[in-house]
């Protein structure tokens, strides 16, 4: 029985999901996404002035969306194809009678699912930790936690797809990915002006701005930044995922890998 694109993708995905659970890399990514919750908990315990909504929005915006999401996605996204190449195990996959694109999809989907689960846990724990803060305000509202979860999930999907495609195209995907995360997503997204709309980070923040409540106004520059409309931001992110998948699959179908012995 010959496996088609989706059959092979499904088979690879199911195996990959069980492998992820045993991988230190996957747990490191989860750890990165849980780190803001740990910081929130420490701050809430150490200080009695900080408020729940202040803590959750600040850490959610800067630490979760700004640092954890890009880095965790980089860690798992690059592993989708580039790590197989680096480990020289891609031979086994390329020389099986399945469409090559199934290798990309079959390994990308579990990575995203893993990160979604980690994001859900990270956001829930962050909100729970922030809620223990002793400063007085209205608490963490749905308008804070749901936009944060939405943006984090959209973020890991977009970044992971991007880094996975990068792994197919370039030799040192981790290094290129780091440079991209550091300079474009970390630096450009925080510059004033329209340039930041060139970053994924801007569109993730636009998702928060489009669905969030007034609690987010405490973020510096939140009110003065011209955010994308919700639909446009979602569309841009979806397009990035789509283009990354198509470009990655197209290249993988043609690429040969020179693996050292």
């Amino acid at each position: 029985m010959k496996l088609g694109l989706w059959g092979a993708s499904l088979l690879i995905a199911s195996t990959q999901l069980s492998l992820l659970a045993r991988s230190r890399r996957a747990w490191a990514a989860t750890g990165l996404l849980l780190l803001p919750a740990l910081i929130a908990w420490l701050v809430a315990a150490a200080n009695d002035k900080v408020t729940p909504s202040g803590l959750s929005t600040m850490l959610g915006w800067h630490a979760l969306l700004g640092v954890s999401v890009p880095l965790a996605s980089l860690l798992l996204g690059v592993a989708v194809i580039a790590e197989e190449v680096e480990d020289r195990t891609i031979t086994y996959l390329l020389l099986r009678p399945v469409p090559r694109a199934s290798l990309l999809f079959g390994r990308l989907v579990p990575a995203v699912l893993w990160l979604w689960a980690s994001c859900a846990a990270g956001t829930a724990l962050l909100v729970a930790a922030a809620a223990t803060a002793r400063g007085s305000d209205a608490g963490v509202s749905d308008g804070t936690r749901l936009p944060l979860l939405l943006a984090a999930c959209a973020g890991v999907a977009t970044y992971t797809a991007l880094h996975a495609a990068l792994g197919v195209w370039v030799k040192h995907a981790m290094i290129v990915g780091l440079a991209y995360s550091f300079t474009i997503e970390g630096f450009l997204s925080n510059l004033p002006g329209r340039n930041q709309s060139l970053t994924i980070q801007h569109h993730l923040r636009s998702l928060v701005a489009g669905t969030g409540d007034d609690a987010w106004q405490r973020i510096d520059g939140f009110g003065s930044t011209e955010w994308n409309p919700l639909f446009d931001a979602a569309l841009v992110l979806a397009l990035v995922v789509l283009v990354a998948c198509i470009a990655g699959a197209w290249r993988l179908a043609r690429r040969q890998f020179e693996l050292p012995a």
Binding site: R25, N47, V50, L59, L178
Partner: protein, 318 residues
């Protein structure tokens, strides 16, 4: 040689362990880490593209800053390079030239400030250099089993780690101390009667002290992350994750808790504070204490070496 063997040399011996540490007499007074350093640097210098890409920004910055420092020093004497339209020209005015002799000291202070500004702006590039060339040093040895070759030689773990540290440190020195010294040399040469050396001469040793401390901190961190990783790319990601997370957390906590001492969580912020204090400058972040910044750097170095020492304690075992 043990006593039994001495007594009867033909008698067979059994050893319980598969590996024994090297024992014997080492050559005294010789830097046994030197071959590791030489080999490491030779390998690092073999690939030209990363060298060009990573050294280009500090080199360009050094040239630009040297030019600016030269211009400011020239303006302090009431002269200006012709290209700037003279001391009274637009560029000369912009750089604060054209003032009287009373402004001379101010101009020298400006040169010092520029040197400090240069240090802080090139810190990022020196981190890049040290991370790139240092991230794989322990990780890849471990992955490929190369450390077994090292420990088959009369080397101690200290020699091995010293060798690795020196390789990273060389790039730290090239990225942070050397450019500073070049600019200082330009300032000295451009100032009349070596006045920069006489009045601001301490900047040179402070540059060495600051650059050396920064190199020690970053090199230690890079090696610690490398010792925790199984491949260079992970170690690189780890180093950058550390800088990104510590920077973001430090800023957030200092803002949330309205206490600037939290900035000590970030090695970069500590660097800013230490530079301010060392060079006696004001960059606007004065209300957190300098000893805390030094302590934070010291703790980071201590933590890093604890991790390195712990992770390399059984390197001899496959």
């Amino acid at each position: 040689m043990n006593r039994e063997t001495q007594a009867s040399p033909t008698r067979a011996e059994m050893h319980g362990g598969a590996w024994r540490p090297w024992s014997g007499e080492r050559q005294p007074a010789r830097l046994r880490a030197a071959p590791i350093i030489r080999a490491g640097l030779r390998i690092a210098l073999r690939k030209k593209l990363p060298l060009v890409l990573l050294f280009l920004p500090p080199v360009v910055a050094t040239i630009i800053f040297s030019f600016v420092v030269y211009t400011v020093a020239a303006l302090a004497q009431g002269m200006a390079p012709a290209g700037l339209g003279g001391a009274g020209g637009a560029m000369g005015q912009a750089l604060g030239g054209g003032g009287g002799a009373g402004d001379f000291v101010k101009q020298l202070v400006r040169v010092r400030e520029m040197i400090v500004g240069f240090h802080l702006s090139t810190d990022f590039f020196s981190v890049l250099l040290m991370a790139w060339f240092g991230a794989g040093l322990l990780a890849e040895d471990r992955k490929s089993g190369a450390h077994l070759l090292y420990f088959a030689r009369p080397l101690t773990r200290f020699d091995y780690l010293l060798g690795k540290f020196c390789i990273v440190a060389v790039f730290g020195v090239l990225g942070s101390i050397l450019p500073g010294l070049v600019i200082i040399s330009v300032a000295v040469a451009a100032s009349p009667d070596w006045s920069f050396l006489q009045q601001e001469g301490s900047v040179a040793w402070k540059t060495i002290l600051f650059g050396g401390a920064w190199t020690l901190v970053v090199s230690s961190l890079v090696l610690a992350v490398s010792s925790l990783s199984t491949r260079k790319s992970y170690a690189l990601a780890g180093v950058f994750a550390w800088f990104m997370f510590s920077g973001a957390t430090a800023l957030l906590l200092s803002r949330l808790l309205k206490d600037r001492d939290w900035l000590a969580l970030s090695p970069v912020q500590c660097g800013v504070r230490i530079a301010e204090d060392l060079f006696d400058m004001r960059l606007g972040v004065r209300d957190w204490n300098t000893p805390l910044a030094w302590t934070a750097w010291g703790l980071l170095v201590a933590l890093s070496w604890t991790v390195i020492w712990w992770r390399t304690r059984r390197l001899e075992v496959v």
